[in-house]
């Protein structure tokens, strides 16, 4: 172990650097805003058995998905894998994929005739065909409506691209230049990973590299078990809800039970609602990934993220439930359910580790697609996922405007949207008073307004939620504000829209996405009045909310009214 300790650190860095180098290649060569601006992609390195060895600094919730997808490739092509091959897939049922827009590519890496590893990448494609542009519609009822299904396929054979695959892909998507370019970017990343690992193998020898991969997995497992062992043993439950599936009014329950014993942990979703008619069913690979991301977030950030980390973790999801749907259930908009799964799991973890875990944030519930054709017939697809904020934390406020910890998504600059699409963004900012009050308050919700210009009409399709069930607070903190959808028509009239909808969007209309706020942590009346006052000065919190939600009085001239605050707080204590 001793000399390994040094070797391990050296090789851990080397593998991680390769995965990051692959990620850098994707960013620099990709075409779509979804990948190059919002960074919806991942890269990884896997051993010949399909264990994840290293993950690029990309998208956490993709982490657990490389091993199960690669396993379907290995099953199909065992004994028939050669240098220069590239495999691709996207199908959730045949390939363990996440949903059709996420195209996976895998490239085997050989050195001196020996299979050493696989370089892998996922890119979220801007379009994958199907009935609704953007590939994230909520109202599909079977996967066949959702676009091109790619089973595990060899798309490059010993360096020769398969024209059949690329021709079919090109013909089936609305923006072929973008999609083919993005798939090439992920393949380029794998080639970069291949070169880098071959260089490493040339220096250290293949035997050593293979042995190092195995010890790195053991090392991560040891670190993970050490962390788990330090947590209390027991069982903790939490439930959260999705408003509906877009067809029925019924709420959908996500129920997570965390069972921790010694250095093992199980997350059991038994009790979660059955799969639904609409396309927010979450394929099992993504359910597992979501759990991994949550558990990873309560551990040392420096712990290497690989399959060793996953070994002590067990996920139970009943087949036919919304977290393990069966074919042909639609899954296009499953990202929403993935968010809610993480929130339910974090909720249970907060009961296990009350001093560590944050209240509920407003994560990436919103998926907005605006698509159509320009005058000259050229198609356009705007695809955006909107992220909001965190919940209040046990020792400090939430961070306003931050992506989900499970996704670490970025946003697309307004100026880029306006340059590339026939759309003007009218507003992008905070919603006053949308934060859940608490001793440590939740983050502010945000708004983003889209105005159609240049084209007469487009399709507007939105996936959102939290109009009925607000992001929860913890330890007496208030929930964050509801989310909302508002359409301003040509007469300037505003009307509320449901969480999940698709409609014609006319030139001159404005669609306003109102993201939920984050939940608060702890009793808002115990919040330092000074902090409330600062929020009022910044117009993040109104004077009315300060008085009502925090018991803090701000005088007309904007000063903190200490005596008034005491009166308000005493009055509430008396009322209790």
């Amino acid at each position: 172990m001793a000399k390994d300790a040094i070797r391990l650190e050296l090789m851990k860095n080397a593998f991680a650097a390769i995965a990051d180098e692959m990620a850098a290649t994707v960013i620099r060569t990709a075409r779509s805003s979804v990948i190059k601006e919002a960074m919806d992609f991942s890269t990884g390195l896997l051993d010949p058995q399909g264990n994840l060895i290293a993950q690029g600094l990309c998208l956490p919730v993709h982490m657990g998905s490389f091993p199960p997808t690669l396993s379907t490739v290995l099953e199909k092509f065992a004994g028939d894998i050669h240098p220069g091959d590239v495999f691709a897939l996207n199908d959730p049922y045949l390939g363990n994929g996440l949903h059709l827009p996420d195209i996976f590519v895998f490239k085997p890496i050989f050195f001196e005739g020996r299979l050493l590893a696989y370089a892998a990448a996922i890119g979220h494609q801007t379009d994958i065909g199907g009935r609704v542009a953007g590939g994230n519609a909520c109202d599909n009822t079977e996967i066949f409506q959702e676009g091109l299904r790619i089973p595990p396929l060899r798309v490059i054979a010993q360096g020769k691209p398969d024209p059949v695959f690329f021709d079919i892909l090109r013909l089936n998507v609305r923006v072929p230049e973008t999609v083919i370019g993005d798939v090439q970017a992920t393949i380029a990343a794998c080639t970069r990973g291949e070169r880098a690992l071959m260089t490493l193998a040339g220096k250290h020898g293949t035997d050593a590299i293979v042995a190092d991969m195995a010890s790195l997995l053991d090392y991560s497992e040891a670190l993970t078990r050490a962390e788990l062992a330090a947590f209390p043993d027991g069982t903790w439950e939490f439930e959260d809800f999705l408003d509906d599936d877009g067809f029925s009014e019924d709420a959908i329950r996500i129920f997570a039970k965390v069972i921790k014993k010694g250095s093992d942990i199980t997350v059991d979703f038994t009790g979660t609602s059955p799969q639904v008619k609409g396309s927010i069913n979450l394929p099992i690979a993504m359910t597992q990934s979501s759990v991994y991301a949550c558990l990873r977030s309560i551990m040392d950030p420096a712990l290497p993220t690989n399959s060793g980390f996953m070994r002590p973790i067990k996920v139970i999801a009943v087949s036919g439930s919304i977290v393990n749907p069966t074919s042909p259930a639609p899954v296009a908009a499953r990202g929403l359910t993935s968010m809610r799964v993480t929130e339910a799991v974090w909720g249970a973890l907060a009961r296990m580790l009350p001093d560590k875990v944050f209240a509920c944030g407003a994560q990436g519930d919103f998926g907005v697609t605006i698509a159509g054709y320009r005058k000259e017939g050229r198609p356009f697809v705007l695809l955006e996922f909107l992220f909001g904020t965190w919940g209040g934390r046990p020792n400090k406020d939430a961070i306003d405007a931050l992506s989900s910890l499970a996704v670490n998504y970025s946003n697309t600059p307004v100026e880029i949207v306006e340059r590339e699409q026939p759309i003007r963004i009218e507003e992008y900012g905070f919603r006053q008073d949308s934060c859940g009050a608490g001793k440590y308050r939740g983050g502010l919700g945000m708004v983003r307004e889209y105005h159609l210009t240049h084209v007469d009409e487009a399709v507007l399709q939105v996936r959102s939620d939290r109009q009925k069930f607000r992001p929860y607070g913890l330890k007496g903190g208030n929930p964050g504000a509801h989310a909302g959808n508002v359409l301003k028509n040509l007469d300037g009239k505003r009307s509320a829209l449901p969480g999940k909808f698709m409609r014609t969007f006319l030139r001159g209309e404005t669609y306003r996405a109102e993201l939920a706020g984050g939940g608060g942590w702890g009793d808002a009346y115990a919040r330092a009045p000074e902090l409330v006052w600062q929020d009022v000065l910044d117009e993040k919190v109104s004077r009315e909310s300060a008085a009502r939600d925090y018991g803090v009085s701000i005088s007309d001239d904007g000063a903190l009214d200490v005596a008034g605050t005491e009166r308000l707080r005493l009055a509430r204590r008396a009322a209790e």
Partner: protein, 698 residues
């Protein structure tokens, strides 16, 4: 600027202020003194006074004075800048605070976002709007500006940043707002985004403009104070400053656009390494600068340090930072591309919960310092490991100025590394040294293999206090076989300032598919760039025939968001010239990313012009003048070079003992402020003022 005269370089860092004066005969004097953070100008004045006190140099004979400074960066890191207000387009008050939503590390619930430099209460919305083509959607309402100025007055704001949507394509509204500010609030310092950084992406432009506004008054005060000190000594030469891009310019550029100078100091070392390479006929270099707390790497290709378009101040030190932003204050400005890692001589070694040996990023700093300094430090550092291994003198450093306790170093490594891991002491020390090398390898990969360059095609120029201690072993790790140790490697960054040239970089945004580009329109934009460059160079006093103009096109495949810079020979763009640039782009894309698509649409995004002076220092200052301290007699000591070589009795010599005849390693070369390690199998010789190490094949 007169090159024949004395030249002075002043490099002010957080800890040390380094001064170099070049003499008429090509020799140079150096001085290293502690910086004075309460007023950085004071150390400069003190240092200059000491350099001039013996009367050997006539202040009036000083032809130029080049300065790299850290006050802008420090103002950002400490939050002590101006009170800034932001004027922005209605609907976009929160762009600065929202930033890009990401955090620079995965899975950390405890992370904190940097506080915005302008709080929400000082971000004001202006009624106006342009579209992406620069057409007015909503005319500017002057009343909204005046109302904001009124509120700013109540809040005692002293600097204003103006950033309106799409101002990079049409700055008319920003100009009108500037005029209103001048009219109604004449005392305010103004930074407008179309001047500071006229490029697309509102967050990046806003952040850069706000940073500029935040540090501008601080930098103005500071430079005035430095100039006063210089004038006090009787120096008449104008003060020149180093920009983040590696070019120097009159101090006025730093007064107007201090955001362009935030990486002033680190740029100097890279420029020095590039200049050194040029003297030696080495065009491809990896500059490696290792100090007490961090190590930095920079790629120099074809004689030019590589540039990046943006950087973050205060983001912490992490190679992954290059992928994930959000940890610091973003500045978009041409900046010498440095990868920085938290590994230096003072970095602490520790065992993590999984039983792996780790080094850094925590550092023992100057106090308590490494255990071997005997200043109270007890935890093991990289320097302690190097003492235990015999790499560093086990009795003293700095020619006896600093006593070293081998015992303390051994104790620290034994207790915190060797004991817990069940290793022999020397194995543990070797582990610390090797893990530090591995971390620094990451920095080298970040500037080379990550962008498709093989480190083996480059020579390493190793400098900074610890650069030559780790240079050879690190080079072996990274696959580099040639190492160059420059003269005065401990103050090499200051020396680098002497080699910098006057330089300005200009950019014009132009979006075209290259095969459909309107050459006439492009040439109009290009002509404007050439005119602007001519004005700037005349302002710097650079004669017409001493100017070098480099014209490049930023090209990409349609839809990509990152461009490759393709140089163009002629200043007039013809369709043939564009076709040839496109062809070159495919080749460069293949080289950098491993593939290209010759049938695909190529877009022009920017025209760029770099104007620089040909004038600069023509030779290396003679190293003999730079060295101080007494020569020591040659001795030998046992040194542990890792499990393959084991303990080897190694000769210790002075730099002056080296000749052009290669000597075989193992060998240790000691001089006043640095120690050079030559491992077994390597060869070392002196060449034109430098020390060169060649690693054996293996």
């Amino acid at each position: 600027m007169t090159i024949g005269a004395h030249r002075i370089a002043i490099d002010v860092g957080g800890t040390f202020t380094d001064l170099v004066v070049s003499n008429l005969d090509g020799s140079a004097r150096t001085l290293k003194l502690l910086s004075t953070p309460d007023n950085y100008a004071r150390a400069i004045a003190d240092g200059l006074a000491r350099l001039f006190e013996d009367g050997a140099i006539d202040p009036q004979g000083v032809g130029s004075l080049v300065h790299a400074f850290t006050v802008a960066t420090n103002a950002l890191l400490t939050g002590k800048g101006a009170k800034v207000a932001l004027l922005t387009t209605a609907g976009f008050r929160d762009v600065l605070e929202i930033a890009r939503l990401r955090m620079p590390q995965l899975y950390n619930m405890d992370w904190d976002k940097p506080r915005p430099l302008v709080p929400r209460r000082l971000r004001f919305e202006i009624e106006e709007r342009m579209d992406a083509d620069g057409a007015v959607v909503t005319p500017l309402n002057p009343a909204s500006v005046i109302a904001a100025l009124e509120k700013m007055r109540e809040q005692d704001v002293d600097s204003v940043a103006i950033c309106l949507l799409h101002s990079y394509i049409n700055p008319a509204h920003e100009r009108a707002v500037m005029a209103l500010v001048r009219q109604h609030a004449p005392g305010l310092s103004i930074s407008a985004s179309h001047q500071v950084m006229p490029e697309i992406r509102e967050y990046e432009r806003t952040s850069t403009t706000v940073v500029n506004a935040f540090v501008k008054p601080v930098v103005e005060t500071y430079l005035a104070s430095v100039e006063e000190g210089i004038a006090g000594i009787g120096i008449r030469a104008p003060l020149m400053v180093m920009q983040s891009s590696g070019g120097i310019a009159k101090a006025d550029i730093a007064r107007a656009f201090p955001a362009r100078c935030v990486e002033s100091g680190p740029a100097a070392g890279a420029i020095g390494a590039a200049a050194l390479g040029e003297f030696l006929g080495e065009a491809n270099i990896i500059a490696f600068d290792m100090g007490g707390t961090t190590a930095k790497a920079c790629l120099i290709e074809g004689g030019e340090p590589r540039l990046t378009d943006e950087m973050e101040v205060g983001a912490g030190i992490n190679a992954g930072q290059r992928l994930l932003g959000g940890g610091g204050y973003l500045v978009r400005s041409p900046t010498i591309d440095l990868a920085e890692i938290g590994a230096g001589g003072g970095s602490l070694a520790w065992i993590d919960k999984g039983g792996a040996l780790r080094v850094g990023p925590d550092s023992a700093g100057a106090a308590p310092g490494p255990a071997c300094y005997g200043l109270g430090g007890t935890r093991p550092t990289v320097t302690d490991a190097n003492v235990v291994l015999g790499f560093l003198n086990p009795l003293h450093l700095l020619d006896g100025d600093m006593p070293i306790s081998l015992e303390a170093a051994r104790k620290a490594i034994q207790e915190h590394v060797a004991g817990p891991l069940g290793l022999e002491l020397h194995e543990a020390a070797w582990g610390v040294h090797a893990v530090a090398d591995a971390a620094m390898t990451r920095a080298i990969q970040a500037v080379s293999s990550e962008i498709g360059r093989s480190p083996g095609d480059f020579s390493m120029v190793a400098f900074g206090g610890n650069g030559a201690v780790h240079g050879a072993t690190l080079a072996a790790h990274a696959g580099i076989s040639e190492i160059i140790i420059p003269p005065a490697s401990g103050v090499f960054s200051a020396l680098g300032l002497l080699f910098a040239r006057i330089q300005h970089r200009l950019v014009a945004v132009c979006w075209y598919d290259i095969d459909k580009a309107d050459c006439a329109a492009l040439n109009t934009r290009a002509e404007k760039l050439f005119e602007d460059a001519a004005v700037l160079m005349a302002g710097e006093g650079v004669a017409l025939d001493r100017r070098e103009l480099q014209f490049t096109l930023d090209l990409r495949y349609a839809g990509q968001s990152s461009e490759l810079a393709i140089p163009v020979k002629d200043s007039v763009l013809t369709s043939a010239a564009l076709a040839s640039a496109a062809a070159q782009f495919h080749v460069e894309h293949e080289r950098t990313y491993g593939y290209c698509n010759r049938t695909e649409r190529v877009q022009i995004v920017n025209l760029r012009l770099r104007a620089r002076s040909l004038e600069r220092q023509e030779h290396l200052p003679a190293p003999a003048e730079l060295r101080r301290g007494a020569a020591a007699a040659s001795v030998e000591r046992p040194v542990y070079f890792g499990p393959e070589s084991g303990w080897v009795t190694t000769r210790v010599i002075r730099r002056s003992d080296l000749t052009q005849t290669p000597q075989k390693g193992p060998l240790i070369v000691e001089e006043y402020d640095t120690t050079i390690i030559v491992p077994p199998g390597a060869q070392v010789h002196a060449a034109t003022g430098t020390v060169r190490i060649r690693l054996g094949k293996g």
